[in-house]
Point group: C2
Chain length 220, copies 2
Amino acid sequence: MMAPSMATMLCVVTTDAAVAPSLLRRLLQRAAARTFNRVSVDGDMSTNDSVFALASGASGVSIPRGGQTAAAFGRLLDAVAGRLARLLVKDGEGATRVLEIRVRGARTDAQAQACARQVAFSPLVKSMLAGGDPNVGRIAAAAGASGARFNPSRLRIWIGKREVVSRGVVRARAQAAARPLLNRPAATVLIDLGAGQGTGAMVTCDLTEDYVRINASYST
Amino acid sequence: MMAPSMATMLCVVTTDAAVAPSLLRRLLQRAAARTFNRVSVDGDMSTNDSVFALASGASGVSIPRGGQTAAAFGRLLDAVAGRLARLLVKDGEGATRVLEIRVRGARTDAQAQACARQVAFSPLVKSMLAGGDPNVGRIAAAAGASGARFNPSRLRIWIGKREVVSRGVVRARAQAAARPLLNRPAATVLIDLGAGQGTGAMVTCDLTEDYVRINASYST
């Protein structure tokens, strides 16, 4: 859940452009798939999490159904949704930092996304992030448990710009050097499975003692 | 993971009976499916988690492939594996109590098991357990997010022997009375989805501040 006092996310994006409902729905579904459906605070979902897009048409500017204008409008919607989704993770209970996980080189996009999700949901990865400790074995173990098929000897992992796992082997010096990169308010991990062209991504936050304190003490 | 110092579970069950490898393998697989594969500390898996069964035959007693003796031997193996699996959860990092989750009334056993897993993996449920607070909305939300199909108005949930949700409605007095039942070292939750005959079960532990402390500070 995003915030106990709300117990849900209700997101409304508004525009003063005139957009046909079918086009706006399609663009919003695409944006949500790439943003809101790729974030996790703790893996728990509220049954009420919702995102709405409202177009008033007050500006008198109309977005045609196809072509470059619709594509540009879609990119703006992606950007707004992406920013809101990231803020939502940043605001997670007890969170002190945000981690962006990107996966590439999977056999399929679905396998890449499964890998990104498994890493993003892993309490071991998330508590490692709280401690700012680049324990890359946990990232590799979560990738391995995700069901994505890959050869471990081709696995590569970066923390920030540091390649900490190369051909399945931990590079100890790079791992030590990656510590400050993981201690940033916004950290990144890139996983290359070396098995294909599939890509995926998730944004998550650290699992801190405050998360437990907040959720253990907040009474019904 | 079960214990950071080992980073894995290596379980060996021994018997001095003579048991054919194919029979022992079949019985062990069944036992593991019902026990080790139904526990979770934090949802993370070690790639090395393994269970072995070794039969020395030293007693001179032979277990035939079929019939009541093999069935009785299988039940004993289930019991040993079940006890070890439970001890393993009890020994989870920072754990102060164990929660047994049983699900019945699902459309299929697979849906019941998916429901039990979702509840067992939920950080919100697990931190609620740490606080000993019977916040049954979290159990219902995890059940709803599991993909198991059911009508919420038929949902029933028990904590210990207290029915805290009846026909989808929280019974506030029973919920308050369930608090001491959740504060035990071994607590139970029963979920009846009211949709069929499928059953499933999981054993998990609470998510405490100590879990985060242990896993955030233990360096590579």
